[in-house]
């Protein structure tokens, strides 16, 4: 992933009324009230989403977001974590939970079939 892209890419939560329920140690169910949709997230995904929702729809640069989540989960923000977080954000954008700043283009999701 291009480091430059990541610095410039900015995300925002689409929906402010998201319900999150813990189902287990590393599984969270979310309910997306704007779209009457739900999904299952892991702890990192859920933390990324929470960080965006907490900003009330404001744009958050991807790099800043990932660093904050790594810090909250006491994980090392190494390249693999950045890559994972990027894919997680793309998948959440795909199902309409979050979106990029207007005009920015989403890059390819690695495993699209898994979330269709």
């Amino acid at each position: 992933m291009d480091q430059m892209d990541m610095v410039e890419r900015q995300w925002r939560a689409v929906c402010q009324s998201i319900v999150l329920d813990s189902l287990g140690e590393n599984e969270y169910a979310i309910y997306h009230a704007d779209y009457w949709d739900s999904a299952v997230l892991n702890a990192v995904d859920a933390c990324l989403l929470q960080a965006l929702v907490a900003r009330s729809g404001d744009l958050v640069p991807e790099e800043l977001l990932v660093k904050r989540v790594a810090s909250e989960l006491c994980l090392s923000p190494d390249p693999s974590f950045y890559r994972y977080s990027h894919q997680a954000l793309l998948q959440m954008a795909f199902i309409g939970l979050i979106q990029l700043k207007a005009g920015q283009i989403e890059s390819k999701i690695d495993n699209l079939d898994s979330i269709r």
Partner: protein
């Protein structure tokens, strides 16, 4: 008396005429059919059900009629007035059972319908639920469990009530196909009673149904707490294995197999969360259903599970900490509810009543007149009896005006006076409409994001426009797609932006189809987002290019009115009416004519003056409100569309009660109304639009619908283009 004790001739007569009343779990069905196979299936498969006449009000009214299509004998099914596609005669019984299942899947707003089999443990009142897709082996398992002493609740559908999350017994047969059918007849030859056998072609196999044992019919309607979810997976060989599944996986699968899960909104989510938190889930891989039954019977963990009897949904909406440091999400702010009565349908109620003298109208269908009256003055429907509702609901559903009727009724003061069964039906309609509205609004926000960088007017058409503009009369109206109109100059840019945002052309469309769209139609090939699947049609014209009257729409885009608080525009009020009329008359979209005619009436009579274009000053302030008929006449003449628009307006006047000044039709078409009614186009449209009789269809109506859908004939150049023939040949193959 039970059905099995009734002479076959008497059963057939009842099915042919009054119909048969059947209760499956919480729902009342009325079944009518002159087909012998249906009577045979009922006499065998429902032999232990009570013999009785239909109730005064049925939740589902099913008709199965024989028909012939292209020389092939078929069965046409009608559910609550909605006519379905036809079935081959060899699958008559399968169609009956499949459509009953569909009723459970789509029919109830207060229950979560999961694609699953369910049965109670022997000697217990706790149920094991087997969710799975077709072919997972749940029916084979359910049949085996029933024959082994388990209490069968259902085969295809596990129906959970939302309050207590209990599963209801339905007392219906199980479906058996191919090897499963052979296995069951071999293994349980003495006890298994199999109904008429049909033949499937893809995959090629036999299909039949196993009659529920009397014990299964006896518990029909009772509810049972779930003890476990077991996701079956049938293999060709190997010992059965039962492995635990995590709650996350169970939740995900429950959502996947919950056919009406999303439509239930937050209530469905709460129910699913409650279930996966308290009910253990397992994956069962098996090859022999008998061995699987023994494994399940001996599983002590399943027998020990107890679901709390009641729950407080609010307690489940709490957020959960992910780590010690994370912040909490905002919750509980968006519980979907049935809309409050105030503020909805007010404009409809304020509409001028139908002023057209009934004597001046042609062939007014009485139930249809009641329906229109109900839409205009909902309070009058309080006087209807249950059996009158039993007739009105299928009609309203057939013409796709039931959702709007439901909303209008929910807004009237006497809502609580309606019978609870009628209320339940109407509430479900409102819930479905809310879901539809929510889905379209979300799609519009996504399109808005995709087109954010493009600075050009984007005009919404039809249903999506009415939703975005929040027209009160359109509350309840459903739409399946989003229609956008842009200037031809920016068509490429807008299309590229949608593709960039992930929208894709339907994979079923060939390259030739796509070229045909671009060359001869009025819109680009439809695109969808792969996750949301709402069809987005990008229009560059209002009439297909092959239509001799097709015209450039630059002026319409320029006149369009901006929707407050949105980046989208809506057509100018006059153009809106023009488009509504020509869309019905000249684009082949004659699928729901009465609903579209009602739209037309509302567009003319219920348009608030505040959103009229300022360019129009010549308003008429009479029975017709503020609508500028002179402007409409002028516009239709400028586009050479007077005849089509005038005919549609007359149709709306005759059947929907639109007040059209007498001189308007004459000015548009050159004919008086009485003469226009004798013209072929009017007669065809009238026949195609108006349902008659209990079945609401006839050969002449089908023929008229086909003819109107193919009106007008394309211009010569279209016929000479090989693309046209490629498309038509491909369409014929698909048919």
């Amino acid at each position: 008396m039970i059905i099995g004790q009734v002479p076959f001739r008497e059963l057939r007569e009842q099915l042919r005429h009054r119909g048969l009343g059947l209760q499956f779990g919480p729902y009342e069905f009325r079944l009518q059919s002159p087909i012998k196979q249906i009577a045979e299936a009922v006499s065998i498969l429902y032999a232990d059900h009570p013999w009785r006449s239909p109730a005064e009000f049925s939740d589902f009214r099913l008709y199965f009629d024989p028909t012939i299509e292209l020389g092939v004998r078929k069965v046409v099914a009608t559910v609550n007035g909605e006519i379905w596609h036809t079935w081959p005669r060899r699958l008559t019984v399968a169609a009956l059972e499949w459509i009953c299942s569909w009723c459970f899947f789509r029919g109830g707003g207060a229950r979560l319908a999961v694609h699953a089999a369910a049965a109670t443990l022997p000697g217990s009142d706790r149920a094991v639920v087997f969710p799975g897709s077709s072919g997972a082996g749940k029916s084979t398992l359910a049949s085996t469990l029933m024959m082994s002493g388990w209490g069968l609740l259902s085969d295809e559908i596990a129906l959970f009530d939302l309050a207590e999350c209990k599963v209801t017994a339905l007392g219906r047969p199980t479906i058996l196909k191919g090897e499963s059918l052979s296995m069951m007849t071999d293994r349980y030859c003495d006890q298994a009673v199999i109904g008429p056998v049909g033949k499937m072609r893809n995959p090629s196999c036999r299909i039949a149904h196993l009659r529920p044992l009397p014990a299964a019919v006896e518990i029909c309607g009772q509810s049972f707490s779930p003890a476990a979810f077991v996701f079956p997976k049938r293999l060709t060989q190997g010992k059965p294995i039962l492995e635990p599944v995590s709650p996350g996986v169970a939740f995900s699968r429950l959502c996947q197999f919950g056919i009406n899960y999303r439509m239930l909104g937050r209530a469905g989510y709460d129910a699913a969360i409650n279930l996966v938190r308290h009910v253990p889930a397992y994956q069962l891989t098996y090859s022999d259903a008998g061995e699987a039954e023994r494994l399940l019977r001996d599983c002590s963990e399943i027998a020990a599970t107890v679901l709390p009897a009641t729950r407080n949904p609010a307690s489940l909406a709490t957020t959960t900490k992910i780590s010690q440091h994370t912040t909490l999400l905002q919750t509980g702010a968006a519980t979907p509810t049935v809309r409050a009565a105030s503020g909805r349908g007010d404009k409809t109620a304020d509409n001028p009543s139908v002023v057209t003298d009934p004597a001046d109208t042609v062939g007014v269908n009485t139930p249809l007149a009641s329906l229109v009256e109900g839409l205009v003055n909902p309070i009058r429907l309080q006087l209807l009896s249950l059996s009158q509702w039993d007739h009105l609901i299928p009609l309203a559903n057939h013409v796709q005006l039931l959702p709007q009727l439901a909303v209008a009724l929910s807004a009237c003061h006497g809502w609580n006076r309606f019978d609870p069964r009628v209320q339940s039906c109407l509430k479900h309609q409102i819930q479905q409409s809310d879901f539809n509205r929510n889905r379209i609004q979300f799609e519009l926000r996504q399109i808005n994001q995709a087109l954010a960088a493009i600075d050009c007017p984007v005009v919404l058409l039809k249903g999506a426009a009415y939703i975005q503009a929040a027209f009160p009369w359109a509350f309840g109206r459903r739409t399946a797609d989003v229609d956008l109109l842009v200037s031809e100059r920016v068509l490429g840019v807008v299309e590229a932006a949608l593709v960039e945002a992930g929208y894709e052309i339907n994979a079923d469309l060939s390259k030739a189809d796509c070229r045909y769209y671009r060359r001869w139609l009025h819109e680009l090939p439809p695109v969808r987002h792969p996750y949301r699947s709402v069809e987005v049609d990008l229009h560059f014209r209002l009439l297909p290019m092959f239509d001799t009257k097709s015209f450039a729409t630059e002026s319409l885009v320029d006149r369009a009115v901006k929707i407050t608080g949105s980046r989208f525009s809506i057509l100018d009020p006059i153009d809106r009416v023009l488009h509504s009329a020509i869309n019905l008359a000249r684009t082949g979209e004659f699928n729901r004519p009465l609903r579209d005619l009602w739209d037309l009436r509302c567009l003319i009579e219920a348009t608030p003056p505040g959103i009229m274009s300022p360019s129009h000053s010549n308003y008429r302030d009479a029975q017709t409100g503020y609508f500028d008929w002179d402007e409409l006449i002028s516009r239709t003449h400028s586009f050479r569309l007077g005849y089509a628009v005038g005919t549609v307006l007359l149709l709306a006047s005759d059947y929907i009660g639109l007040t059209v000044p007498p001189e308007v039709c004459k000015a548009m078409t050159g004919h008086h109304a009485s003469r226009l009614r004798r013209r072929t186009l009017y007669r065809l449209m009238s026949t195609a639009a108006i349902p008659r009789g209990m079945r609401m269809q006839s050969r002449s109506r089908r023929m008229a619908t086909w003819t109107v859908a193919h009106y007008p004939l394309p211009r010569l150049g279209t016929w000479l283009d090989p693309l046209t023939w490629t498309k038509r040949l491909s369409f014929t193959r698909e048919s």
